[in-house]
């Protein structure tokens, strides 16, 4: 096939090498047309905002002569915005919450996704299995705006079904939306619950793709089901699982905004336990309108994220070169 391609290429554009720069641009005009919308999008919604991060080093002032003018004429303050953010009491709370929740999600998602994926790959009834998968994917397709109502129906302090059950059994009801101590559990449960249908698919597909003759061989050697899973299924899954774990480390400073902002219903007494970088930045932008400081916080988040991706990619390239991102 390669020969065919080469041969026909020489028929259609015989003097390719001799074209000058402008002829080359003209020859690619249709392809330029095809990448044009995406290129414009990336410039406006990626490259310009990336450059706009310079306001993190400014005391940004709005002017009525356009954004670029505002940026060029705002006073530079060096790293003051970063200092202000790092020295505030909020910083440590936000850092603790974001990293703490993310590490927990990382480990629990890793464990449960593999567990569900492997168990489902060993189930006998394919139709039931399909039904389970369909049901488990449902929350994944819903927004936190919707799910926050699901949660409220269970947790509402006066009408919620959980308090209904607690009082029916003689206990005293809990004002969940003012009880910070329960929220780490609620948030972690919800985060894992929403994603499990999606996260387990990868492992399910990997486990289903294992050559059955491995199992045959193990059975001939007298391996029990658990020994088969331990010695056949898991070793096949572990490389991809490790890769997923490492890749997700890059997102350790990011959080699912809706889970931390909408589900606790923006309740004041829960802020200390639900505040992450993303909600902090949003609240700084909307309540104090501190453009410089909120940009600085976001920039730090992005820089750490990018560094983590580079570091993990470097590690992956050494251990498992074929899985490296770049």
């Amino acid at each position: 096939m390669k020969q065919e391609v080469a041969a026909s290429a020489s028929v259609v554009i015989p003097k390719r090498k001799k074209k000058n720069f402008f002829q080359r641009l003209w020859a690619n005009r249709v392809f330029f047309l095809m990448v044009a919308p995406g290129t414009i999008f990336l410039i406006i919604f990626f490259y310009i905002p990336v450059l706009a991060n310079v306001v993190a080093f400014q005391n940004f002032q709005y002017t009525d002569q356009g954004f670029v003018y505002s940026v060029l004429h705002s006073p530079w303050v060096g790293f003051d915005n970063f200092k202000f953010f790092f020295q505030s009491a909020d910083f440590w709370i936000v850092l603790r919450n974001t990293v703490g929740y993310n590490l927990t999600f990382l480990l629990l998602n890793f464990f449960f996704a593999i567990f569900f994926g492997v168990v489902m790959s060993q189930m006998r009834k394919a139709r039931l299995l399909k039904t389970y998968q369909t049901m488990m994917l449902f929350p994944y397709f819903l927004s936190w705006a919707i799910l926050s109502y699901f949660v409220y129906a269970f947790l509402s302090s006066d009408k919620g079904i959980i308090n209904h059950m607690i009082t029916a059994m003689g206990g005293s009801s809990i004002d969940f939306y003012n009880a910070p101590w329960v929220w780490p559990f609620i948030i972690i449960f919800l985060g894992v619950w929403k994603g499990i249908g999606y996260n387990s698919i990868l492992y399910f597909a990997t486990a289903m793709g294992i050559d059955p003759s491995y199992y045959d061989a193990a059975m001939i050697d007298g391996a029990s089901k658990w020994q088969q899973i331990k010695n056949v299924t898991l070793p096949h899954i572990l490389p991809i699982a490790t890769l997923m774990l490492i890749l997700n480390i890059g997102g350790i400073f990011r959080s699912d905004f809706g889970l931390f902002y909408l589900v606790p219903r923006n309740s004041g007494s829960l802020i200390d336990i639900t505040q992450t970088f993303d909600t902090y930045i949003y609240r700084a932008l909307t309540t104090t309108n501190d453009i410089g400081m909120s940009t600085a916080a976001g920039l730090m988040q992005s820089v750490v994220g990018a560094l983590l991706i580079f570091i993990t990619n470097w590690i992956v390239r050494r251990k498992q070169p074929e899985s490296a991102l770049f």
Binding site: F31, P37, F41, L42, I48, I146, Y149, D158, A205, T295
Partner: protein
């Protein structure tokens, strides 16, 4: 013979009947926990308002009524408006994103495109670094001036690098270069090749990214939270956010002819849940049919440069 052997081999690696039953119960319960809350919300939207105040939220209320939906119909101008905004944004946005992402992916998947490598890297870089909420906010509101403009809900999601990667690997694996070559020998222009040969072959891939994208638009409330503060541009999901603590957004739209008694008896709780049902039902009813495309998109996701 070979076929038969294959099937027995598949059977062999399953659980024994007892273990299978145990895990069926375990996973079955978990799977139920994923859909029961939605049924609970449907029941609540059908519960008589006074029952909710007296007995709290119940799985089996004393009175099933349609009052919430009747009120939604009578004074649901805002709900209809929001539904309209959501549908418009979803359709226009999905068309734009699928078109732009596919053409971009097609161009960078072609070896004849002299600058394919440049544009691949140009797009991939955006996956490494997140520009941040505030700079994006500044660009959208200050530079583009899109505050309170419906395009603020469409443009920020009108192209997706992840979709580009899915489509690129789709083009590379399922459209052989030979077909394109033969079309060109027959004298077809690049545009013609794309329109008449590539697009028809790429329909399954386009369906996958369209579904992901439309779901993203349908579920988006973040852009509205940042850029919209006029009622007539509030999409359904953001309406849910706004009525979490304050049903006024909806009741203020009450038609002029409404009597005072009607205003007093507004089933505020039930109406909230009815709006949740309206926002969820389209997804609940359609996704089981498109699930295979979603699963395909998820497993194809492990693409790389």
């Amino acid at each position: 013979m070979r076929q038969k052997k294959h099937i027995t081999a598949v059977e062999i690696r399953k659980f024994s009947a007892g273990t299978d039953l145990f895990f069926n119960i375990f996973i079955g319960i978990f799977a139920l926990s994923c859909i029961i809350p939605f049924f609970f919300i449907i029941i609540l939207s059908l519960t008589k308002e006074s029952d909710m105040t007296t007995y709290g939220y119940q799985f089996w209320p004393k009175h099933f009524v349609l009052t919430s939906y009747v009120y939604l119909g009578k004074m649901g101008k805002q709900v209809l408006q929001s539904l309209g905004v959501t549908v418009f944004v979803t359709i226009v946005g999905t068309v734009m994103n699928s078109l732009f992402s596919s053409t971009y992916a097609y161009a960078i998947s072609r070896r004849d495109f002299a600058y394919a490598r440049f544009f691949t890297i140009f797009a991939l870089i955006s996956m490494l670094f997140v520009p941040g909420m505030v700079p994006t906010y500044l660009v959208v509101t200050q530079m583009l001036g899109l505050q309170n403009n419906i395009w603020a809900l469409i443009l920020p999601m009108s192209f997706g690098v992840y979709n580009v990667l899915i489509m690129r690997s789709f083009f590379k694996t399922s459209i052989p270069e030979a077909i394109i070559e033969s079309a060109r020998i027959d004298g077809a222009s690049e545009m013609r090749i794309f329109r008449s040969i590539v697009v028809p072959l790429a329909i399954p891939g386009i369906a996958t990214i369209s579904l992901f994208t439309s779901l993203g638009y349908w579920n988006d409330w973040m852009n509205a939270l940042l850029y919209i503060n006029v009622d007539n541009l509030v999409p359904l999901q953001y309406l849910l956010v706004k009525i979490q603590n304050n049903i006024q957004v909806m009741t203020s739209q009450m038609q002029a002819g409404a009597s005072a008694a009607m205003v007093q008896n507004i089933p505020t709780e039930g109406m909230r849940f009815a709006v949740v049902v309206v926002a969820t039902l389209p997804i609940a009813l359609t996704y089981p049919f498109f699930q295979k495309y979603f699963v395909k998109g998820m497993t194809i996701g492990g693409v790389k440069g």
